[in-house]
């Protein structure tokens, strides 16, 4: 097979429909960028869930010297108080399981989150010691909807500083991530639909512009693959440029926003990494190529029928 012909025809086709090609590239580029960002937000939501622990958990925070709660009269929770708490945790019907997080573990997590570039902040953070942390129990419930019982049973006990239901804190953040993700994906779906239709239109135009050549090729017995290859290449080139643009855009967001702002300054959660961006972009590339090749194959079959 003479690939020279295929390449020159591909080039001619792209030049002949420059405006169509640009429209196609831009649509693919923007839709894939949105898909990429949607996937990143999805990865971020998953990361947040993993990082903050299961949404079903509540944490029972024990007193330390600094606790101001009326149930922390004796300062640190003493062993007798702690035994009473464990007893409740072991016997309460709504508790599925629980684990103990020591001050040391809490301090480790704290150090991971509170990192700063600011010298003054660093000084303040350095003054914090393990003893400023609180021991706690992470409680997993049998039915996450039924948490009030455990909460009321524990929150009144001596030695319990407070009972945190993590969902109260995390739900709004996770909901926001999810809303943003779905927003991006819905817009991307519409744009992808537009891209698919544009591919069909571009093929129709190109097939019309080349109808004489195609007629002769069919007549002299050129194979279907040979006839449709220039069309496939044309849309493939558009798809590759679109994917490359999307990769640059997502990479830009990662570099300037996630690595430039979020990661160094905001440590409330573990942010998405280059690895997540790579996974998202691989999916975007596969989607971009499928979303252009499939309509191309369908349309060329229709217009170039033997």
């Amino acid at each position: 097979m003479q690939l020279k012909y295929v390449f020159s025809e591909t080039g001619n086709g792209l030049k002949r429909n420059v405006s169509m090609t640009i429209a196609l590239v831009v649509t693919i580029f923007i839709s894939l960028t949105l898909v990429g960002l949607g996937l990143l937000l999805n990865a971020q939501a998953n990361k947040a869930e993993d990082y903050w622990g299961s949404k079903l958990q509540i944490s029972v925070v024990l007193c330390n010297q600094n606790s101001r709660s009326p149930h922390c009269t004796s300062g640190e929770t003493n062993p007798a108080q702690q035994a009473a708490i464990v007893d409740i945790l072991n016997t309460h019907p709504e508790v599925a399981s629980y684990s103990y997080e020591t001050k040391a573990q809490a301090f480790k997590t704290w150090k991971k989150i509170y990192v700063s570039k600011d010298a003054e902040e660093r000084q303040i953070y350095a003054a914090v010691t393990e003893n400023d942390m609180q021991n706690s129990y992470r409680v997993t419930l049998k039915d996450p909807q039924q948490y009030r019982g455990v909460e009321s049973a524990l929150s009144g006990m001596d030695g319990v500083d407070k009972v945190n239901d993590l969902r109260d804190v995390l739900q709004p953040i996770l909901t926001t991530f999810n809303k943003m993700k779905w927003g991006a994906l819905v817009v991307a779906a519409f744009l992808l639909l537009a891209a698919v239709l544009q591919v069909s239109n571009a093929i129709r135009l190109a097939a019309f512009a080349r109808r004489k050549e195609i007629g002769i090729m069919r007549l002299v017995g050129a194979s279907n693959l040979y006839i449709s290859l220039p069309f496939l290449m044309e849309t493939l080139v558009a798809a590759v440029i679109g994917v490359a643009g999307a990769a640059l855009a997502v990479g830009g967001v990662m570099y300037f926003f996630v690595y430039g702002n979020l990661r160094p300054d905001l440590h409330v959660v573990e942010w998405v990494s280059w690895r997540d961006a790579g996974t998202a972009l691989a999916e975007v590339a596969a989607l971009g190529i499928l979303a252009t090749l499939i309509p191309t194959l369908v349309t060329t079959r229709k217009y170039l029928k033997v």
């Binding site: 069919r218 007549l219 017995g221 050129a222 194979s223 040979y226 006839i227």
Partner: protein
């Protein structure tokens, strides 16, 4: 080489059959005129040979194969055995004479060395030596049809189909084209030519198949155009 067995076909949405129970057998190396009024089924006949259409009933054999049941991916191989020439030449206006002929070989993947060899040869055969670099609009109608014939013949097909090849040409030029088709026929190529040109048919004295309303009303060796029963 071409055989129709009880072939009937109707175009969608039409009551009248385009071809009705046609039986024709054309041997290898024959020169056959297909005559008949417009709408008599000549074009349908040629389309069936090229497998651009399929019959509703009956069987079409071309070059030893039953083509109406052939898988569509095998159709290109069939068409490489058939050269086709049209009334309107169908040359590519942005390619030179030689490029137009070479195009037919390029798109079926023939190597460049082969193309460089056979294209000048074929141009010489059709009487266009030295005109390979001209553009189609720089040469006469008769010469354009010679280019089209060269393109159809360059891959040495077993069958040459000509659909009114002289329809756009004056009588004198037409004679030249007919001589060329005759020469191609003498190389062993089966020639099937649809025409309205009574003068040519009378002069050539070849086999004549006449279609009327989709049926064969005459199949006569060494026939003339205007034969009446």
């Amino acid at each position: 080489m071409i055989r129709f067995e009880n072939v009937s076909t109707t175009y969608p949405g039409q009551n009248r059959a385009a071809l009705g129970n046609v039986n024709v057998d054309i041997e290898k190396g024959e020169f056959v005129f297909l005559v008949g009024a417009s709408g008599s089924g000549k074009s349908t006949f040629l389309r069936l040979v090229l497998r651009e259409a399929r019959p509703n009933h009956g069987r079409v054999y071309v070059a030893g194969k039953e083509i109406n049941r052939m898988a569509s991916w095998k159709v290109p191989a069939l068409r490489r055995k058939i050269g086709t020439v049209f009334q309107d030449f169908r040359l590519l206006p942005n390619k030179t004479v030689a490029e137009n002929v070479a195009f037919a070989l390029q798109v079926i993947g023939k190597p460049k060395s082969h193309i460089n060899l056979v294209v000048p040869e074929t141009l010489e055969l059709v009487g266009l030596e030295g005109k390979g670099d001209r553009m189609p609009d720089e040469i006469s109608g008769g010469e354009q049809q010679r280019v089209a014939i060269a393109r159809a013949f360059v891959n040495r097909p077993q069958i040459l189909i000509a659909d009114e090849p002289t329809g756009n040409l004056d009588p004198e030029t037409s004679v030249g084209i007919m001589k060329l088709l005759d020469r191609i026929n003498r190389t062993g190529t089966t020639v099937l030519m649809a025409t309205h040109d009574a003068g040519i048919v009378d002069q050539m004295r070849k086999r004549v198949i006449e279609l009327s309303d989709g049926t064969v009303v005459r199949d006569q060796s060494r026939g003339v155009y205007g034969f009446q029963h």
